[in-house]
């Protein structure tokens, strides 16, 4: 199927959106005079006021305070287009896909497969390389199961790991790209090894090379493409070159990358890439595993059931080709359509413009946060190449207490270990507070966060 056909089929509502000419984001005066104003040149091609108008929730008042939503790395907000696309499908075209032979069934199937094509185009992939899952965790479990559980020579493909084989992850992984590989090692007898990070949270490739971490025993390298805690990017191309040199398969967790930057899977270096809908303006309940077509073709099924088969007898079954081989049962149809609408929405503004906007916000946030006493940043202090997740500790205050004070001021952040406990241990802390930005984040919101952190220090009488 042609890549371009997806764009105009179902989501023409979004096609009127185009990046607007370069314009500085207007900033209102700092609401709290005692805080130090940091002037950062914000080079921004995104008209944030217009972006925000697409997200009704961003206009909410939380008590007396405007909502300041700085938790998009956890779950992003949805624009009207996404909700409308899902509602339009549900209200006008509901039917099962690929099994219902009536007209509605054909419409639903077309909408579902068009969604697949839209999402494929969003990351530069072929349509049949997009496998739908319910979230990134399920996509990674699919990869961890299917890449390791196959029986070589059985005719059903697979890679059949065993004792002596090694799987390499990193200490910076979200639990969803760690636990499935731990389980795979338990199942197969393979050994789990991992990349360490530097004190700044960047992949320590020098140390890994000294350790001969990736070697002829390495069968799979599964790493995050961008840390959900520190925002540090992974040198994925370099790691992939190293892994491929030993014939290993490279799996990337793109949950924090795909929503925020232009991604072309041809250049990425990974063989499999997982991401999720609800972190990129889409709904929950839909995730994606992209895989190189020739690799997917060698992987056995993960879940068994309807739609993933070719012929079923009571003794055995033959399996459908990818991607349907990996999509047992009725898929999340409306959610796939919602995710495609989100891709179209993001493309409407342009992923490069979104990346630049977030880069400017991140630079501004790093400068402002540096003015807060007792604040320790976890991760890179320089904005270059860094994602929009910024984690920190504040004195010895517990993140739950910090976020409670922030929440009372309408500021929503995440507190805890962000499903990355080993990385927090590596930094010698139990948990942290994380702010994360997206295309709708403003510098005023960063100011409100900084004011809230100062108020937190005062409330708990730190340094008094």
């Amino acid at each position: 199927m042609a890549r371009s056909s997806a764009r105009n089929a179902h989501f023409s509502r979004s096609s009127s959106r185009r990046p607007t000419p370069a314009r500085d984001v207007p900033r209102s005066p700092d609401p709290v005079s005692e805080t130090i104003r940091v002037e950062t040149a914000v080079h921004d091609t995104l008209d944030v006021a217009r972006v925000r108008a697409d997200f009704p929730i961003l206009a909410r008042m939380m008590g007396d305070n405007p909502l300041t939503y700085l938790d998009s790395a956890n779950t992003s907000q949805k624009p009207r287009d996404v909700v409308a696309a899902m509602a339009a499908h549900d209200l006008g075209h509901t039917a099962n896909v690929a099994r219902a032979m009536h007209t509605l069934g054909a419409e639903a199937t077309a909408a579902f497969e068009t969604a697949r094509a839209t999402i494929a185009a969003f990351i530069g992939a072929r349509d049949d390389e997009i496998v739908f899952a319910k979230n990134a965790s399920e996509a990674l479990n699919l990869a961890a199961h299917s890449l390791t559980a196959g029986l070589p020579g059985s005719g059903e493909g697979g890679h059949g790991l065993g004792p002596g084989d090694e799987i390499v992850v990193s200490i910076a992984e979200h639990h969803s790209n760690l636990v499935p590989w731990q389980m795979a090692c338990q199942r197969t007898g393979a050994t789990l090894r991992w990349f360490d990070v530097t004190d700044e949270g960047r992949f320590d490739l020098d140390r890994a090379r000294e350790q001969n971490l990736v070697n002829e025993r390495t069968k799979i390298v599964a790493v995050t493409a961008m840390s959900n805690v520190t925002g540090a990017p992974t040198p994925l191309a370099e790691i992939a070159e190293w892994a491929h040199g030993h014939g290993a398969v490279v799996v990337a967790d793109g949950s924090q990358l795909v929503p925020h930057q232009p991604v072309d899977v041809v250049d990425l270096g990974a063989d499999l890439l997982a991401f999720t809908g609800h972190k990129m303006c889409g709904p929950t309940g839909i995730g994606v595993l992209w895989g190189r077509r020739d690799l997917l073709a060698t992987m056995p099924p993960f879940l068994g059931g309807g739609e993933m088969i070719a012929v079923v007898t009571m003794e055995e079954s033959t399996y459908a080709n990818p991607p349907h081989r990996f999509e047992a049962g009725t898929p999340p149809i409306t959610e796939a359509i919602g995710l495609a609408a989100a891709c179209a929405y993001l493309d409407g503004w342009g992923m490069a413009a979104i990346r630049d906007h977030e880069g400017a916000i991140t630079a501004y946030a790093l400068e402002r946060l540096a003015t807060v006493p007792h604040l320790r940043l976890l991760g890179p202090t320089s904005p270059q190449g860094r994602g929009g997740a910024i984690s920190f500790t504040l004195a010895d205050l517990h993140p739950h207490d910090i976020m409670q004070v922030l929440d009372s001021r309408g500021v929503a952040v995440r507190g805890g270990h962000h499903c990355a406990r080993p990385l927090h241990e590596r930094f010698g802390v139990q948990s942290s507070v994380r702010m994360s930005s997206y295309l709708y984040t403003t510098t005023e919101e960063i100011d409100r966060l900084v004011d809230g952190l100062r108020a937190t220090l005062a409330f708990f009488k730190v340094g008094q």
């Binding site: 517990h398 739950h400 207490d401 409670q404 009372s408 805890g416 139990q430 409330f459 708990f460």
Partner: protein
């Protein structure tokens, strides 16, 4: 959202200066309780003789609510019978899950009445219950003559 209702001075005082903190011997039961959503961790030991709580000692990493609640719990149960301690914990839990409709008797509960405001913050109820849940677990283990060091 009323921060003062949640963080009453009594709570902040216990948070700054925890009572009965630190792990001591002897003990009949040691338990580890965690709050997986935030990573709060509590190791608690119970020393009981003839059905009476002689000592509760603990090491905790956590938020002000969980730390203060554990401190106040230890104050309340030490010197009482294990049975009385469990009954206090049950009443405390009912108050927290009562969405503000259940009040505690100040004569029985002392500083613990300061947690009344927590009942309005469902996300923090677990924090306030962590210490009490660990005490209950330790009491049941001590009664059964078991120790656990997980």
């Amino acid at each position: 959202m009323d921060l003062q209702a949640l963080y009453q001075d009594i709570i902040l005082d216990h948070y700054k200066a925890k009572h009965h903190s630190g792990l001591r011997e002897p003990f009949e039961a040691e338990v580890t309780h965690v709050n997986p959503s935030c990573g709060d961790e509590l190791v608690l030991r119970l020393h009981a003789e003839d059905g009476a709580v002689v000592d509760v000692s603990y090491e905790a990493v956590g938020c002000s609510i969980s730390q203060a609640s554990t401190s106040i719990m230890a104050d309340l149960v030490i010197g009482r019978t294990v049975e009385e301690g469990l009954a206090l914990g049950e009443g405390f839990r009912e108050m927290l899950e009562g969405q503000g409709k259940v009040t505690l008797d100040e004569d029985r509960y002392g500083d613990a009445i300061a947690f009344h405001g927590v009942a309005q913050f469902p996300a923090r109820v677990k924090c306030a219950l962590l210490g009490w849940a660990a005490f209950r677990d330790a009491a049941l283990r001590a009664t059964a003559g078991q120790t656990e060091d997980k």
